[in-house]
Amino acid sequence: MTDAVATREGLRVVGQPVVRHDARDKVAAATAYAADWALPGMLYAAVLRSPYPAARIVRLDTAKAAAMAGVAVVLTAKDVPRNTLSTDVPGQTTAVGPLRATLHVLAEGRVRHQGEPVALVAAETLELAHAAVETIEIEYEPTAGVFSPEAALAPGAPAVHGPGNLLAQWRIARGDVTTALRDAAVVVEGEYTTQMVDAAYLEPESGVAWIDSDGVITIRLSTQVIEHFRDVAEVLQVPQNRVRVIGTYLGGGFGGKEDVTVEAYLGLLALKTGRPVKMVWTRHESLLSRAKRHPYRLRYRTGANARGEIVAQQIELLGDAGAYAYLSALVLLYSTVTAAGPYRVPAVEVDARVAYTNNPPTSAMRGFGAMQTVFAYESQLDRVARALGVDPVMIRRVNALRRGDTLPVGQVIETHVALPELAERAWSALGPPTQPRAAHVRVGRGLSCNFQPYGRIVWLHDWASAWLGFEMDGSLVVRCGCPDVGGGQASSLCQIAAEVLGVSLARISVHVSDSALTPLAGTTTASRQLYMSGNAVLKTARELRAQLLGVAGALLGADADALDMEDDQVVTTDGRTLAIPRLLAECARAGVARSHLGVYHAPAGEPVDLAKGSGKVFPDYTFGAHAAEVEVDTETGVVRVLRFAAAHDVGRAINPQSVEGQIQGGAVQGLGYGLMEEVVLDRGINLTTSFATYLIPTAADVPDVRAVVVESGEGLGPFNARGIGEPPIGPPAAAIANAIEHATGVRITRLPITAERVARGLGLLD
């Protein structure tokens, strides 16, 4: 097997901005999203949710609702065969014990957050389902709740689950922080507050379930994880091979569709009624109660010497896990590992905790804990630079990690770190400075760098599989369990297959995301899918190619190693060709398979004791730098982003247009986080349950994002690619905060950076 395909010069399809097959379908309205599905006899489902953030259920009577004409079934906790969705989260510190992140499908006796599901209805029409929900007789007795991690950890606080409310704690200690800070030329102390935000995908949680002719409970839904078929099977207490999840092309995921959302309800209702059931959450429901991003309080003491080198970081993180654990312990782990930023820091202390509250549960969201820390460490670095009179690009160059350096957690950086180059290119991509357009306007620029892990934690032993097979006419089928969240996941697999097997893209069809029919490839999360599914397809394609070229070599009287596959044929070094269908006919005659199932195993490692700083946590990281130019209206505090550039080292861009799109989209989502998004809670009551109050950026709120794509050629993914799904969301908030300080001298340490916060910082309201 030749590695010639891996060299940059030899690439024909990979590296091209090919048109994605799903883009064509989507513009023609040919893509059936999860809610674009109707079956004969289909019922409509609705959920009864708690209006209280903390309460006991004292009375629950569904008889009247169940008796309504057109209502098929009303379910509560007692009707669920196994009412527990639990996630065992490995690797917890012994300080809080092993983690069982128990979650009920339907509330049992008490509710812990506003919007917690209590009952399910299926009826002939959606209107009837909602009417039935309102007819359910329920009485709550509100109980005392806690609504901030500080309050939750105070002695005597009401217990959300068990006493104490501490869900997880991670610590890193490396070097002598106290001495280093004492001897530092400058110490900057800062407290930063990041807010709770919502994934706010435009497609709400949706799905349809039915029981097929084989008795298999089939759930067709918008999800980032088809492996939840196992969780549904456990809930329903049916064998795991009797549940099938078909993942549709998502209308956005961003981590919000990583946990179980509608599938358990749909499976339950389909099983109980024997009929197809549809569930589509309203925007209100989704904003109210779907798991959100962890808000953090981040306290930093950063010490540097006179040359601008960071000598110490003392960091304390406190996050809000909301009412249920979900993935909080892992999110906290990501924060802990990335807390000191992509920089060399000889002495580091990190003390990270996350606590239960009666706020909406928090879980996975693009960035996964490595995003919140960027706001703190980049604001701190900027302040250090300012204190020493060093410019923002220089201070990053001085401190950036290099190959061979060690992270605070003990992991050695094994790849090239393009940070200084990324910072310079992002900065210069802003172009010449914009002159203030009026006397009351100031213009400033800010820089922000980050690093985001891609690929799952190494002791989780990640793997992905793929199946590739030729049809007799030479067309190719790719099957891979990889859900497509809209980032071109499926399309990239076709590109990789096309590159290795020389099949034109028009002759490749791809099937993804079906737990019964496509080989499992794991979650579309953690920026892992290109790395894992991409490598699975690459490996499988190479193995299939070797299989086929063995037969081709015999046919052509040539050495298999000297053959290439391109333009839908096999070619020899002396220009003879063999059409693929001819080759396949020969394979059939010789009993050689035309297809192959391959598995890619990510290099694995053993669990690391963070406190001892002993080793590798993530396979690799993607580094980035963003630069912002902003305009501040010094009379109103209104901030406008004038220019924005975002640079990332993606290893290799499989599809450069898709890569730019990820960078631009992630950057704008990051700008939303920086400037306007916030889930506003008042003692656990959500005040932002509408797109009129939960604000995400519109086309008029953001400028063009100049995406700068750097390809270092070093990455663990196919053709040395790195993950790019999450990295671009991290830097923007700090870039904006740094730009505002440059423009006005005002340092904003709380997100989102609203006009009012800037106005207060400017002293306008004194």
Partner: protein
């Protein structure tokens, strides 16, 4: 129910009263129905009524209740005679709201942060109201009585607005919102006309978003009348307007911020209005 004449509509309204809701553009009513915040037994769809005219004669401006926001934006006649209407309409909601939303609907909804109630207050418009018992006109400055509350009785419909002849003037709308295209945190509407000496002959100023209803900024108008509109005078007038306000705080924006911004935007609106009046 979709009556074709005004009298039919008024008859239906008289008959069904509290159990009926009137449907025009639907941009406010349909979400209310959808979220079951109101459950009227009867919906009276008035879109077929002949109330969609923009009439300009003798200097008077008459705008039918069913005139859509986009018509205000696109009317060349209005652009010549009273450009503030188009300027305000352009700021309302999004393009889809502007296709269907109506002038009457905005006034009846009475959102204290909305642009048109503030514009009508500034213009000192008269709002034409009809019921089965007869017709009346209510001054815009008295029409809005509280948050989402107006002087309209349950059996009445707004049929249009009328603005008496305006002197030659310059006008401006200034708005601050959390995001482009959102409802306003604070909005200011200002019209200024100058006499032959270039002094302020007349000023009309109103705010939206600073109270439970649009606010007519009398203090600002008094501070301008007869004076030369220097930067200092305009600033003083804006401060006078601001000082008369005590905006409420909510979970998103504080009253202190609204008050400060009201002063800034008022000064800016007056400045632009004066510039335009001078042309």
């Amino acid at each position: 129910m979709a009556p074709e004449t005004l009298d039919d509509a008024l008859g239906l309204l008289r008959r069904h009263g509290d159990e009926a809701k009137v449907l025009a553009g639907g941009q406010s009513l349909i979400p209310i129905l959808h979220y079951r915040l109101a459950r009227p037994r009867v919906v009276i769809d008035i879109n077929a009524l002949p109330l969609a005219d923009i009439a300009l004669d003798d200097g008077r401006i008459g705008i039918g209740a069913l005139v859509r926001y986009h018509q205000l934006e696109e009317s060349e006649a209005l652009a010549g005679r009273c450009p503030v209407l188009g300027e305000a309409a352009r700021l309302i909601g999004n393009v889809r709201v502007r296709t269907l939303g109506t002038v009457g609907g905005s006034l009846v909804h009475g959102d204290p942060a909305a642009e048109l109630p503030a514009v009508m207050t500034a213009l000192d418009a008269r709002i034409a109201v009809a019921s089965a018992s007869g017709r009346r006109a209510v001054a815009a400055r008295e029409f809005f009585t509280g948050p989402l509350t107006t002087a309209l009785a349950p059996d009445e419909i707004v049929t249009g607005i009328e603005v008496a002849a305006l002197p030659a003037h310059g006008a401006a709308v200034e708005e601050l919102s959390r995001r482009a295209g959102d409802f306003a945190i604070v909005a200011v509407v200002a019209l200024v006309s100058l006499d032959r000496r270039g002094h302020v002959e007349e000023a009309r100023v109103a705010f939206g978003g600073v109270a439970d209803r649009p606010v007519h900024a009398r203090a600002a108008e008094d501070a301008l009348r007869g004076r030369e509109p220097s930067a200092e005078t305009l600033a003083r007038a804006a401060h006078a307007a601001r000082d008369a306000l005590a905006p409420p705080s909510d979970a998103f924006v504080s009253g202190a911020y609204r008050r400060h911004v009201a002063g800034v935007l008022c000064r800016r609106a007056l400045t632009r209005a004066v510039e335009r009046a001078r042309r």
